[in-house]
Amino acid sequence: MSTTATPVAGRRLRPANLLKPTTRERAADWARRAPLLPALIFVIITTQIPFVVTIVVSFMDWNALKPTETGFAGLQNYVEVLSNSDFRQAIFVTIILTVSVVLACLLLGLGLALLLNQKFFGRGLARTLLIAPFLVVPVAAALVWKHAILNPTFGLINGVLTWFGQLVGNPNPPQLDLLSTHPLLAVIMSLVWQWTPFMMLILLAGLQSRPGDVIEAAQMDGATGWQVFQHITLPHLRQYLELGGLLGAIYIVQNFDAVFTLTSGGLGTANLPYAVYQTFYFANEYGTASAAGVIVVIGSIVVATFALRSVFTLFKKEAAR
């Protein structure tokens, strides 16, 4: 602790001929850095090195089952990924899945957050119930959706349809089989269900940090609820919407559990993470899988550029305190 002030003061008072940092200052700098280094080195070793290896492998012809044919492949793997219809479909599915899930979750989450921000009987319990979907282990949630809810013979959806049918005197009500007829929609539904609480929680926290005095003043001045929402709530929520949307996008782009469990990537629901998994785990095509992995990263960087910008805005405001 006592070293905090010393180097700064020393630097300021130092004559010009002593501009080179002294041993003592250098030691102080390292003492400052020391607590950071274990974490930094650990992260570099466990994330950057594997990624560099992935890039190298993506330029190689490498199938684990044909060890003699390993060699340099140039851009061949990338050409294969981008020209292979399965991979192109996976890129398309990843985009559709991410955009639709994030948008739906944001809209639903905003609606729920606005409702939960009101005062009503049993609000705490309602909030707890709403968080529940997010707290079910994703694989477990996907299994429950697949077998207990979407199952065409005894899933809950068809069960309720039958039950309604009987109520209105129709012994053969329509039955759905979303997993076969609209598999991607089934995946989207289960993900929207699971991620809406996430958005709701972030937006609710945003709503509750609204400046109360400004709203009160606006109401005193006769602003309608819609005016308050449009001119105070929305501008204030903007950064929370961005934060939620972009964090959500990062998680959904990488989603593996739902696709793996609900459809096993079949029926045109394989997204890029699933396609990469399948290519190296089952097909043993290490080169192609790596090229696809690099493409996922490039896609994520595009998303991340926006994410970083948004997080940076929040961050700058905090730093400026």
Binding site: L36, P38, A39, L40, F42, V43, T46, P50, L112, K119, G122, R123, A126, T128, L129, L130, I131, A132, L135, V136, V137, V139, A140, L143, V144, H147, A148, I149, N151, F154, L156, W163, W193, A205, A217, A218, D221, G222, H231, H236, L243, G244, D257, F260, V276, Y277, F280, Y286, A292, G293, V296, V297, I301, V303, A304, V311, L314, K317, E318, R321
Partner: protein
């Protein structure tokens, strides 16, 4: 980020229409309450259905229309814990607990000093370091999983829970550094300096000034790291097998090895989700802090 950090919106309502009625913030809003409750029940329905089905017998679980009021039984739970099937769920549950707990401890051990060096006595270019940490989260696991798999296979670390623990540490460390930094940034610097002037030693300063601010942050960080490790599937699926397989991996293999037993699937889902459900319900406010990387407090 605390409320003070967020800029006040510029928009002000124009005083064009004066109305006498003012929204009373303490009044119950019945319409919103009814809507919120209906939606809450709708969202919770799959979870409630999962729990209810887990307590039904197999024949009662597989009916159309659903037998909501069928008698409750612990049969499926007994079966899940190996009463008749002979499949023992304890090894994967223990593996999951080990992977989550040990990786969370490791994350804290690495993240707290790092956050200290980024918030309280910041190193030069600390913002760059912080954004480097975040950028590693932008890299999907699929982009690194193949080299990890090859490395684990060639070094004999495949199906070793400790290798998975290291990977989970790496997965959660950037999040933890961000969260802990945003908490430690709230440590009052003047108090730190005053304590030093008064001759307090480092341990004393950490205990009296840093810890009160850091403890809620440590709780939130632990909760999030625990949940993310407990839930993780892709790495566990690729890096573990029969010995070190975690609960999510066990769950994916459960249906194929057991055939389709609806009540048992639900019982398994309930048991495996229980730690996360309990931890998450118990610490709802911590959940928000964690999910927003400490940006919302």
């Amino acid at each position: 980020m605390s409320a003070t950090a967020i800029a006040k919106p510029q928009a002000q309502a124009r005083p064009n229409r004066r109305r006498k009625t003012r929204l009373d913030p303490t009044r119950n809003n019945t319409a919103a309450g009814v809507a919120a409750w209906l939606l809450a029940l709708f969202f919770a329905l799959p979870v409630l259905w999962m729990v209810l089905t887990a307590f039904h017998s197999e024949p009662d679980a597989a009916t159309n229309p659903p037998s909501v009021f069928a008698p409750l039984t612990l049969e499926s739970f007994n079966q899940f814990f190996g009463a008749s099937s002979g499949v023992n769920p304890w090894p994967p549950l223990i593996n999951s607990a080990m992977a989550s707990v040990f990786s969370t401890v490791l994350v804290l051990v690495l993240a707290i000093p790092a956050a200290y060096a980024l918030a309280i006595k910041p190193v030069k270019k600390w913002t760059d370091v912080l954004f480097f940490f975040l950028s590693t989260k932008m890299m999907p696991v699929v982009a690194a999983v193949l080299p990890l798999f090859i490395f684990a296979k060639s070094s004999g670390m495949l199906d070793n829970i400790w290798f998975l623990i290291l990977m989970y540490t790496s997965m959660n460390l950037p999040i933890a550094v961000w969260m802990m930094r945003s908490f430690l940034a709230e440590v009052p610097v003047e108090m730190l300096e005053a304590a030093q002037l008064d001759g307090a030693n480092l341990v004393m300063v950490l205990r009296k000034v840093v810890a009160p601010v850091a403890m809620p942050g440590i709780a939130a960080t632990s909760l999030i790291c625990f949940i993310f490790s407990w839930n993780e599937l892709l790495l566990a699926r690729v890096l573990t097998g029969v010995r070190a397989g975690t609960s999510p991996v066990f769950l994916t293999g459960f249906v194929t090895s057991q055939g389709l037993f609806l009540a048992q699937v639900c019982a398994a889902a309930v048991v495996i989700s229980l730690p996360v459900l309990i931890a998450g319900f118990a610490a709802q406010d911590k959940l928000v802090q964690g999910l927003s990387l400490g940006a919302v407090k």
